[in-house]
Structures are given as structure tokens and as C-alpha cells.
């Protein structure tokens, strides 16, 4: 079996083509690697729809076309809160290629951008069907839907959003783990804490333990220590070439504490 590439000018057409089975090619950083290795076979669908790379402010926040690259994010002033996240993805070439949509379904240890989207409560605009929280998409990764765009709210207070990536290689390396936190404070207390981890599970996920520890609390040494303690509750971090599950578990709380201290 070889590959056959179909190029469509609209996402709708691409979606229809995918209905017959096939692989959607976005930035290429994962799919073309698979093609090169002979692991991706059959129909490859791509779309040239200009909407895919549109980044626009809406009443809901910012709508990011799923085909926007990390470089596009870095070029957008509206998305300045996501610049540190986009800058942590790959080197310059990968950032010029890797897309927001592709990042949603990138396997471990990739997907750091999605970690931030989950913490920010972003929603995916699907080509078919209504918007869905990015977090929910993580559960349908085996058969990912075609995503047209991401809606993300700009944090009202920039200090409410924090981001940290731990890598073995500077300045470009894959994650030992990554953390994104959205900690909106009302009257000095954290309301609706959202803390997401990358590389701490099969896919980006939230740390219920850390969120619970912070909910309704002032962000101080005590709550931070509790959150750090609870960071890995219910998580089963993977072992890979970079770090063992044990190590990830040991240091996740340390890094969470450091991030929270910066945000306090």
C-alpha cells in the first residue's frame, strides 16, 4: 500500500474525504514523519482553506485557525499570553510548521501547546458538530475529529496564567513534563483552578489533586505546598527514554511549586 494525497480547498470537503478513511495532514511534523517511515499509508487529506490559518478576535476571545503554526501564534499580538508556550515548541523550523490542530493529537511526549489550551479552558470548533472543550477531545484521540479552530479566552489578569516546561535540552527539547495553570483569583482566593500537565500521562491532562488543593485558597506557601503534594494524585506518568515514571512523579510537585510561587 502506498499513499495517495488529496488536496481540498475547503475543510468541509476535507472532512467528507476523511469520511472514507484517511489521515489528515496539517503541518507535517508528525504525519510526514510517519509517511517517511512507512507507518502512514493510504489516503492523506490536506486542505488549503485560508480560514485554517486565520487568527481573529471574537467576543469570546480569540479564534485560532487549527492550521495556525506556532510561528503564527508568536506573530499574533492578540495571543501574547500564549507566546511563552509556542516558543517552547521545537526549534524555529518546527515552529514554522507545527500547527495548533496537530498539537491536539500529538502523542507523548509532544502536545505541550495543548496543555496550555486545556488549562485555559479552550474549546475546539469542529468541522462537524458543535464546539467541544479541548480537554474532552483527549478522550477521542484514537479517532480524532477534524478541528477547524480553537477558541481561547484571554486571561483577564495576565498573572493568572502560568506556564513551565522542563526539558533535558536547552533551548529545544521535548518535555520531561510541562505545566500550565490558570488561577483566577477573586478576593484573593483561587476560583475555578485549572492546572494541566504534559508528559504526565498518555496525553495532556488536568491535575485534579492540585486543583482541589488550591480551590478557594489564597495562593500562599501552605496551599502551594499542598498542591505540590497532591500534584500527581491519580496520575500515572509514563516512563520513556528521558525519564522514568518515578522521576516524573518525584519532580512534578517541585516544578508545580516553582510555577505557583512565580504566580503568587
Amino acid at each position: 500500500m502506498a499513499v495517495q494525497v488529496q488536496t481540498h480547498s475547503s475543510l468541509i470537503a476535507a472532512q467528507q474525504a476523511l469520511g472514507q478513511g484517511g489521515t489528515y495532514l496539517a503541518g507535517g511534523t508528525l504525519v510526514m514523519r510517519g509517511v517517511n517511515a512507512g507507518e502512514v499509508q493510504g489516503v492523506i487529506v490536506r486542505a488549503t482553506d485560508p480560514e485554517l490559518r486565520r487568527i481573529a478576535s471574537t467576543s469570546e476571545g480569540v479564534r485560532i485557525g487549527a492550521g495556525s503554526t506556532m510561528a503564527d501564534i508568536l506573530a499574533s499580538r492578540d495571543l501574547d499570553f500564549l507566546h511563552p508556550v509556542a516558543r517552547a515548541i521545537g526549534g524555529p523550523q518546527v515552529r514554522a510548521m507545527a500547527t495548533v490542530g496537530g498539537n491536539l493529537f500529538a502523542p507523548h511526549p509532544y502536545g505541550d501547546f495543548t496543555v496550555a489550551l486545556i488549562a485555559l479552558g479552550a474549546r475546539a470548533v469542529l468541522v462537524q458538530g458543535g464546539p467541544r472543550p479541548v480537554e474532552e477531545l483527549m478522550r477521542v484521540r484514537a479517532r480524532p475529529p477534524l478541528v477547524a479552530a480553537i477558541d481561547v479566552m484571554r486571561p483577564r489578569d495576565m498573572r493568572a496564567f502560568g506556564w513551565l516546561k522542563v526539558s533535558r535540552i536547552k533551548p529545544k527539547g521535548v518535555s520531561v513534563l510541562s505545566i500550565a495553570a490558570l488561577l483566577v483569583r477573586e478576593g484573593g482566593r483561587v476560583r475555578g483552578a485549572r492546572i494541566a500537565f504534559g508528559a504526565m500521562g498518555a496525553h495532556p491532562l488536568r491535575s485534579a489533586g492540585a486543583e482541589r488543593a488550591l480551590e478557594g485558597q489564597a495562593l500562599d506557601a501552605t496551599s502551594i505546598a499542598r498542591a505540590a503534594q497532591a500534584a500527581c494524585l491519580g496520575l500515572e506518568p509514563p516512563t520513556d527514554a528521558l525519564a522514568s515514571s518515578w522521576y516524573r512523579r518525584e519532580v512534578a510537585g517541585v516544578h508545580l511549586r516553582r510555577l505557583l510561587e512565580q504566580m503568587a
Partner: protein, 552 residues
């Protein structure tokens, strides 16, 4: 401390041993190849285009150890673009070891395995197809019936009684040295006596990890038919004549029919010595009449390409309170992986290096070349030495810490000096360890005692330090039987007649009667380095354990 990325040339040190007034030597001349590099025009092996180029990829074992019951290539044969499928039966001489070209070690490794596999990734068939993608697809369509066998992955597990045997010719999973011992020995003086005499006995265990050479250019070769029944081979090899000799032997083809071109290589670091790709690329060309490329992709380079093997070292030192090291004992295990490649030789090199750059009167080493079901190991930058040095120098730190001595001073105190007897029973000369230690201490602000500051590699050596110990404790530990020393490790068997004319073997046999050329005469008035002494020609020459040659 001096900071920053500076380089300084300490011309003041050893100045009296140099004439620095030369025309071209010592000048910062630009690289001959630099324009090609910066314009992207330097011709690496893959930068030669051929019409009709075919691509070769291998079917590999998914198991650490298994018997091959059956290889079914029928489905692969029908795949689009597949031109030819090779199995071991297609390889004229399907058994090799690199050092066999120098008669060092038994042929032990199939080019394409037919009966058993001994490591994950071992090739059992090769697909030749029109495109790389087609070759990949056809590889996936080959069906191999495996009978999984027990395996062993750790050097010390591998030499325990009852461990799975990796190679039948080495039943204890240990290479046999000189037909006599299952390890290489080094003995000087009596370490046990030193341990009795010492103020401290300090032990350590050290583990060198397997490492990938990781050149940015992966290993590969392109072969193509040349005129007059010859074959041209563009190659990334680090050793043109190793590769040519290997191809000549494996393909039973005289070297005169092979034209090897290389020399511009995208990094090697030891990983491009093994000559894996050339024979199969040429064989593919012979059988298809078309140019054939065989190169590893990055994943193969990392997992199938031979790494620097793991090494495990046990050290035990006899140390006096004043820092003098009286004795040092080593037990070393090199993980050769599933086949010998170059590991047996690396151990000889490593043993000659012990006990490091120090004058220690009592030295004892047993170093083993161990077979495991891992990817075969091969050379890497510092082959045979890096792991030993890691162990020695980590241990020196432990010694310094134990006796409470400045680690730099410990090195200077024990450093070898001109004229000292070394453990391999040759006198040291041209030493410079002390001076290196002093320069670093000075730069880094490590305070040395006046005595250590005044020490010199040229002073204080020799004399009593030049003498061999009156007594050296030897032993028969690890004695093997059934191997003939005259045939190196070959168990009773007559060496097979090598097909064709392996150029290296041929070359080496010439040297027995060659004399070294006279030292060159030249001016401007530069001292010409003296040539090496001519090989002795008088009388019968005994067996050389390094080469196995006998001269009569």
C-alpha cells in the same frame, strides 16, 4: 579563574623540545574542504545521483534471540517495485568478522542470518526495490517464523554458569585470548602483597553506558556497475580498505573488481568502521545490474548501528596515607553484544592502557570480552579507553576523598614520568600528565604545594622506578582447553581458505619481509622524526597474538 571560551598555546612549556620556526606546520591554515562545506558542495556518499537507483532495506529480528524456522518472502516478492529479495543463501561468504582481515578472531557474524538471530534488529533478509517506500512496505510483508530463545543482556549474567549461549564457538560467552585464557591478563608485581601493606584498600564499581556515535550523516553506501565487470561503491566508511577488504571477502570478488570512493564523511566517531553496507549494496548491484543504495535511517542508526559497548569495571586500590598508590587491581567486562566486531581488540588496547597514567608498582587486571544478546558493539571515539578512564579517574577521586588529599596533588604524586616502567613492561617517555595538571590547577585557582608545583614529567622518573618488580604473581585462572594458540581462538579447525584475495591479509603478509623505509631527509632545517625501528627479520618469528601470523 580564567573565564570564557579562550584557547591559549602554552609555548613556554617544553619549549626546548620544539623548533617552532616552520613554514606551514603550526599555521592556522583554513581547511582544504571548507569551501565545499559552506556551499553545500562537498560530495558525501549520497551526493552521487544514479539513474535507476534501487533501494535496499533489511528485514530484522524483533527478538533478542530466536531460531529462524522459515522466511516466507512470497508476499513481499509480489509487492510493487520489488526487484530482488536477498537472504543468507545469496551471500557468497555469509560469515565474517572485521578483524578476520587481520586474522584476529573467528568469523562469527552472518551478513544475513539464516538459522539464528542473536540480537534485536539482526538482519535476516534484504529487499531491493525501486523506491525506499516500496522497500519498506515489502519488508513489512516478509513473514518470518521465529522460535524465541532465552536471552541474556548483562555481562555478568552472561558469564554465569547456565546462561544462554550467545555464540556456540564461545560456550562461556567469553572471547578466548591466545587460545589459552577466557580473558586478557595484565600482571605486574603482586597486588595482593600491596593490599596487605597498604594503609587503605579502596574499592569501586563503575559502569560505562552504551552510546551512539550519532554522526549527522547516517551510515550507508551506493554501489553501481562500472565498466569492465567492476563495481564502484560510494561509501561513508571510516576505513576504505577495511570496507573494500570486507566486500572482497564476503562477495568472493577480487579487490581489483571493486572501486571504492569515499573520504568525505558526515561524521563517524567510530560508527562507520563496521563495513555493513558496502557488501550488500554491491551484492544487490551484482544481482540486479542496477545501482543500489543501502543506508540506515536514523532509527536503525540508533538501534541497529553498533554503539560504544557498555563496560563494567571493578577497581581495588592499595593506598598509603601519603597518597602513594602501591597496587591497583582491575576486573573489566566489555559488552561485545552478539558478535565480536572489534571488541576483542579494544580489550587488548584497553589492557595496555591500564592502570592509567600512573606509576603503580603492582598491577593486576583481568579483562573479559563478553557476548550478550545486545546490538554488537563497535568503535567509538576513545574505543577501549574512555570507559577505563572513566573508571580510573572516578576511582582516583574516591581515593583522594578517602585519604583526604587534594585530588590534583594525588594525580601529580602518582603520575608517570619519563623513564618509569609501565605495567605493560615498556618504559614511559614523552610524558606530560604533571604539566597538564599544573596548568589546570593554576587556571582554576587550585592551590598546590610547592613540591607539587615544582614537579616535572622530566624529573624524578627512571632509576629504581624503571625496574621491573623482582617478582610478579602469575596464575592460570580462566584457562581454557581445546583451542590452539597457533590458530588464535580457532577451536581446532583449519582456517578456511579465504575467497578472492583479501587485500589486507595480502598486505600484511608482505610486511613480514619489508623493511622500514629510511627516515626522510628534508630541509628547511627541521628535525625529522625518526622512523620506527625496522621489523626484525632475523630468525623465525614466533606467533603474534595480535595478528596470529607466523613467520618462518
Amino acid at each position: 579563574m580564567i573565564r570564557g571560551n579562550m584557547v591559549e598555546f602554552r609555548k613556554d612549556i617544553f619549549a626546548d623540545e620544539r623548533d617552532d620556526n616552520l613554514n606551514e606546520i603550526g599555521k592556522p591554515t583554513r581547511r582544504q574542504d571548507i569551501t565545499g562545506h559552506v556551499t553545500g558542495r562537498s560530495p558525501f556518499f549520497d551526493d552521487h545521483l544514479f539513474e535507476g537507483l534501487l533501494h535496499l532495506r533489511c528485514v530484522r529480528s524483533p527478538h533478542h534471540a530466536a531460531r529462524i524456522r522459515r522466511i516466507d518472502t512470497s508476499a513481499a516478492q509480489r509487492m510493487p517495485g520489488v526487484m530482488r529479495i536477498l537472504t543468507g543463501q545469496d551471500v557468497p561468504v555469509n560469515l565474517n568478522t572485521l578483524l578476520s582481515l587481520l586474522d584476529f578472531g573467528i568469523d562469527d557474524e552472518p551478513i544475513l542470518s539464516t538459522e539464528r538471530v542473536r540480537y534485536k534488529g539482526e538482519p535476516v533478509a534484504a529487499i531491493i526495490a525501486e523506491t525506499e517506500a516500496q522497500a519498506r512496505d515489502a519488508v513489512a510483508a516478509v513473514r518470518v517464523e521465529w522460535e524465541v530463545l532465552p536471552h541474556v543482556l548483562d555481562v555478568e549474567e552472561a558469564i554465569k554458569p547456565g546462561a544462554p549461549t550467545v555464540l556456540d564457538i564461545y560456550p562461556g560467552n567469553k572471547f578466548v585470548y591466545h587460545g589459552k585464557y577466557d580473558h586478557q591478563k595484565l600482571r605486574l608485581g603482586d597486588v595482593e602483597a600491596a593490599f596487605r601493606e597498604a594503609d587503605h584498600v579502596i574499592e569501586g564499581r563503575y559502569q560505562m553506558s552504551p552510546i551512539e556515535q550519532a554522526p549527522i550523516e547516517t551510515c550507508g553506501a551506493i554501489a553501481a556497475p562500472e565498466q569492465n565487470g567492476r563495481y564502484v561503491c560510494y561509501t561513508s566508511t571510516q576505513a576504505l580498505f577495511f570496507s573494500l577488504g570486507t566486500a572482497s571477502k564476503v562477495l568472493a570478488t577480487p579487490s581489483s573488481r571493486l572501486h571504492f570512493i569515499g573520504g568525505t564523511v558526515g561524521g563517524g566517531f567510530g560508527g562507520k568502521v563496521d563495513s555493513i553496507h558496502e557488501p550488500l549494496a554491491i551484492l544487490g548491484t551484482m544481482l540486479t545490474g542496477r545501482p543500489v543504495k543501502y543506508a540506515w535511517d536514523r532509527e536503525e542508526e540508533m538501534q541497529v548501528g553498533a554503539p560504544r559497548g557498555a563496560e563494567r569495571w571493578y577497581l581495588k586500590d592499595a593506598v598509603m596515607n601519603d597518597g602513594r598508590i602501591l597496587g591497583r587491581k582491575f576486573t573489566g567486562y566489555f559488552d561485545s553484544g552478539a558478535y565480536t566486531r572489534l571488541s576483542s581488540y579494544a580489550i587488548i588496547k584497553g589492557v595496555g592502557h591500564l592502570p592509567g597514567p600512573y606509576t603503580i608498582p603492582n598491577v593486576h587486571a583481568d579483562v573479559y570480552c563478553v557476548y550478550t544478546n545486545r546490538t554488537p558493539a563497535t568503535a567509538m571515539r576513545g574505543f577501549g579507553i574512555t570507559g577505563a578512564d572513566f573508571a580510573i579517574e572516578a576511582h582516583m577521586d574516591k581515593v583522594a576523598d578517602t585519604i583526604g588529599m587534594n585530588p590534583v596533588e594525588l594525580r601529580i604524586l602518582n603520575a608517570y614520568r619519563d623513564g618509569d616502567m609501565k605495567a605493560h613492561r615498556r618504559l614511559a617517555k614523552n610524558c606530560a600528565l604533571i604539566e597538564c595538571c599544573q596548568v589546570v590547577a593554576e587556571k582554576a585557582g587550585v592551590k598546590l604545594s610547592p613540591e607539587m608545583q615544582a614537579a616535572s614529567s622530566r624529573v624524578g622518573g627512571g632509576g629504581a622506578r624503571a625496574h621491573l618488580p623482582a617478582f610478579t604473581a602469575t596464575d592460570e585462572h580462566g584457562r581454557v582447553s581445546g583451542y590452539k594458540a597457533t590458530n588464535y581462538a580457532r577451536k581446532g579447525a583449519k582456517p578456511p581458505d579465504l575467497p578472492g584475495a583479501p587485500p589486507m591479509a595480502q598486505h600484511v603478509s608482505h610486511q613480514a619481509s619489508a623493511s622500514a623505509p629510511p627516515a626522510p631527509q628534508h630541509s628547511p632545517a627541521t628535525p625529522v622524526p625518526p622512523g620506527p625501528p625496522a621489523p626484525k627479520r632475523a630468525g623465525p618469528i614466533r606467533f603474534s597474538s595480535l595478528s596470529g601470523f607466523r613467520r618462518r
